[in-house]
């Protein structure tokens, strides 16, 4: 009797455990089911086509929900979109959803190339009309929103990089305008520090706690000045050449040597930096177009600040200023409702909707037709970030995949070490070039990247691509 009881209990326990493990599969209401019949596209059989739209953007949540509701009530194709704003770990949630056939029909792109290679995204080429496609012609780039010539996503807003400076501190130091060259920047930082040090104000800062303390100023200044490519990758030569950052590294090092950098920059994070800037303790730093919102909501400030185009090496820019942008939404390769999903996507790219989005200060578009239609957003300091003929989207570099095979110190760490402690810059750059190009060769030879040299690339051709009439 006891034996029988034990057997029954064991089976029951196992059954409960297995049921618990598989309950996730039974509930597929969160996304499209791969095996669902696809004959109800566009709701022709009277039933609504339900689409799941996932995003990780929280800052524009209310605006977007309003627009999604408007789409649901106004579209004539019987399409119903449910928007889900994922909290943290968006990437992991997306991975799990795809691997368990619960992927959303339309989703915000997290990692473009990886997503396409994993087969998550459907090419948009056949879904787009020529007229619609033409609006994006100037902002399409390989490995950014295209792969092997096919378009998988389209750009939307971007991060525009600028020199952010405290006009009061500039005035105190007898400076009338933002620096236009690296020498002027070094000099301005020195003057501001001389005048402001007694009150704890310093000329320059960057968040050297992590690599972006270097990349924020360096990528912006180097792309504008030389236009060779991103992240140390020279697009023409198809190899890494960190000489592109020589002058920026030297200028930053000089400011450190002069004592013009804020004490503690070695471990300064971006938010503490912003907090100090908001208190009038920093003369200038380089960052992107999130700052107007930051100084309105996160660190409200009385400081009289403005954004200007970053300085170039010698005042004679030969390239275009990099804009961090390129992709926004993708349609799941697994959804049976591709056309319906594209109709929703088309709606989101409507001129009026996008212009309103920009005017309300949620983000600055990289789309020329939006920038032409939109009025200036009502956000203090935003005017300095609006697109100019300098700004452009660059083709992707193979830096991330190269670094997965890199042996030794990363470029950002090596160059930050030079900036903060000095040393032999020639040796540092030569060592980086050797190691990065060895790693690049390895990722090319096993097919991890298909990015090759493009001798015809000229950053000057990119200038004006984000504004109409250039």
């Amino acid at each position: 009797m006891m034996k029988k009881w034990a057997k029954v209990s064991t089976i029951a326990l196992m059954a409960i455990s297995l049921a618990a493990c598989s309950s996730g599969n039974a509930n597929n209401s969160g996304g499209s089911n791969n095996s669902a019949p696809s004959n109800n596209e566009s709701g022709t059989n009277g039933e609504a086509v339900k689409l799941n739209f996932w995003t990780m953007d929280r800052h524009d949540m209310e605006f977007m929900q309003e627009k999604v509701d408007a789409f649901n009530s106004s579209n004539t194709d019987n399409i119903e979109v449910e928007m889900t704003v994922m909290a943290d770990n968006y990437n992991q949630a997306l991975e799990v959803a795809f691997s368990s056939n619960q992927a959303p029909d339309i989703f915000k792109v997290y990692d473009f190339v990886t997503g396409v290679k994993k087969g998550y995204m459907t090419p948009l080429d056949d879904l787009m009309s020529d007229e619609f496609k033409a609006q994006f012609e100037s902002v399409l780039a390989e490995n950014v929103n295209m792969l092997d010539g096919k378009i998988y996503s389209l750009p939307n807003t971007g991060q525009y990089w600028r020199l952010i400076y405290n006009k009061d501190l500039f005035e105190q130091a007898g400076l009338t305008e933002a620096p236009k060259t690296l020498d002027e920047m070094v000099e301005a930082a020195k003057k501001i520090t001389e005048v402001g040090k007694a009150d704890g104000a310093y000329g320059f800062a960057s968040n050297f706690k992590n690599g972006s303390g270097f990349t924020r100023p360096a990528w912006a200044i180097a792309t504008l000045s030389k236009g060779e490519g991103l992240e140390g990758y020279n697009i023409n030569k198809g190899e890494f050449d960190f000489n592109v950052y020589r002058e920026v590294a030297e200028a930053l090092h000089q400011m450190k040597e002069d004592g013009s950098m804020m004490p503690g920059v070695e471990t300064l994070d971006i938010d503490p930096l912003r907090a100090q800037f908001a208190q009038g303790k920093i003369g200038m730093y380089i960052n992107h177009s999130s700052e107007p919102a930051v100084y309105t909501d996160q660190f409200p400030t009385d400081v009289n600040w403005e954004a200007a185009v970053v300085p170039s090496i010698d005042g004679n820019p030969q390239g275009a200023l990099w804009v961090n942008a390129g992709n926004y939404l993708a349609i799941s390769e697994k959804t049976p409702h591709k056309e319906a999903a594209f109709k929703f996507m088309e709606y989101l790219y409507g001129t009026e909707l996008r212009a309103e989005y920009q005017e309300e200060g949620y983000g600055i578009s990289v789309l020329p037709y939006v920038n032409e239609a939109a009025n200036e957003p009502e956000l203090n300091g935003i005017s300095g970030f609006l697109p100019t003929e300098n700004d452009a989207i660059y083709p992707a570099s193979p830096a991330a995949i190269t670094e997965s095979r890199l042996e030794g110190l990363k470029a950002t760490d090596a160059l930050i070490r030079y900036i903060l402690t000095g040393g032999d810059l020639d040796a540092t750059i030569n060592d980086l070039n050797t190691r990065y190009n060895q790693a690049l060769e390895a990722v090319r030879s096993d097919g991890s990247t298909t990015i090759e040299a493009d001798p015809s690339f000229n950053a000057n051709d990119l200038r004006g691509s984000l504004v109409v009439g250039q």
């Binding site: 006891m2 034996k3 034990a6 209990s9 064991t10 326990l13 196992m14 455990s17 990886t114 290679k117 994993k118 704890g200 050297f208 706690k209 992590n210 690599g211 972006s212 992240e231 804020m262 004490p263 503690g264 070695e266 471990t267 300064l268 994070d269 503490p272 100090q276 303790k281 830096a399 991330a400 995949i401 670094e403 997965s404 042996e407 030794g408 110190l409 760490d413 090596a414 930050i416 070490r417 903060l420 402690t421 096993d446 991890s448």
Partner: protein, 293 residues
């Protein structure tokens, strides 16, 4: 037989959970040791290349060295301090319960939250520590800069650990019978002799476990360093398991980095072996401590 079946039934849930959530993930990660795998596409078999790379990886070995400095510094300060505190608070002094709670308090705080607080306390431009030093006329220090960052993360780790080990020592001390001390006082033993000749030897087996716990915890520790310095400036406070963590989960601030699951698995295995070997060596050396009196 019936007893055995009962045992199986009652242990089944925990065995099941241990296997699925503990053992399976380890083997999941370890099988990629011999592959080149970034989290997408087909893993590519590369034999022992990941291990050859571990051997050549100066960054990794630097992080191992940093781990030894961090562990050594933390233990040298933490263990004597917590033992002394335990001995003092084991006596019938006024307010000892309150003091025990106060010293134990850091253990219950989240390491990440406290690290954010310490980041503010130690920052060089307006941190409390520097404000105090300036007021006292000493000038300011860049506590989290290249020169002092390791010292600072060690001090913060000591702050977080002392109370915990104090409690473990206290438990050990309370197991020492009072009559031993009474006999010693009849023989005219002074407090120092009492500590050295009675307390320490009788605490031996407990101490062996506490030190082992302290060694393994310190060798694996990285959370507070991740918040305080992210391993910087330029790798000065990069410890073994932070280096490993970044290979699997690139930090947000390190945008653009890709996962490195294959190489990460090899680094993980090597790190586990290092911790294992050190623990074994310690057990060998400390055998004498486990003698019970």
């Amino acid at each position: 037989m019936r007893k055995k079946i009962h045992a199986y039934i009652f242990t089944f849930p925990s065995i099941f959970l241990t296997l699925t959530l503990g053992v399976y993930p380890i083997f999941w990660a370890l099988r990629y040791m011999f592959f080149d795998y970034q989290g997408f596409g087909e893993p590519r078999f590369i034999g022992l290349e990941n291990f050859a790379r571990v051997g050549r990886d100066t960054q990794f070995w630097q992080s191992v060295w940093n781990t030894f400095i961090y562990t050594g510094g933390k233990l040298i300060l933490t263990l004597p301090m917590s033992l002394i505190l335990a001995v003092i608070l084991n006596r019938a002094i006024r307010g000892r319960q309150l003091l025990r709670s106060v010293y134990f308090l850091p253990t219950i705080f989240s390491a990440s939250v406290m690290s954010i607080v310490f980041y503010i306390i130690f920052n060089s431009y307006n941190g409390v520590v520097n404000q105090f030093l300036i007021k006292m006329g000493f000038g300011s220090l860049d506590w989290l800069g290249a020169k002092y960052a390791m010292l600072t993360v060690i001090l913060i780790a000591v702050w977080g650990a002392v109370g915990n080990y104090m409690l473990l020592f206290l438990a050990g001390l309370q197991n020492i019978p009072d009559d031993v001390y009474e006999a010693a006082s009849l023989d005219g033993v002074n407090p120092a002799q009492r500590l050295w000749y009675i307390t320490m030897p009788m605490l031996g087996p407990v101490m062996q476990m506490i030190i082992m716990l302290a060694i393994t915890t310190s060798l694996k520790g990285y959370e507070s360093i991740m918040v305080l310095t992210e391993g910087g400036p330029f790798g000065k406070t990069e410890v073994m398991f932070l280096y490993l963590y970044k290979l699997f989960f690139p930090l947000v601030s390190d945008s653009g980095s890709v996962q490195n699951i294959g190489y990460g698995s090899a680094v993980g295995f090597t790190s586990a072996v290092i911790v294992g070997v050190i623990t074994l060596i310690y057990f060998k050396i400390s055998k004498k401590l486990s003698n019970t009196y």
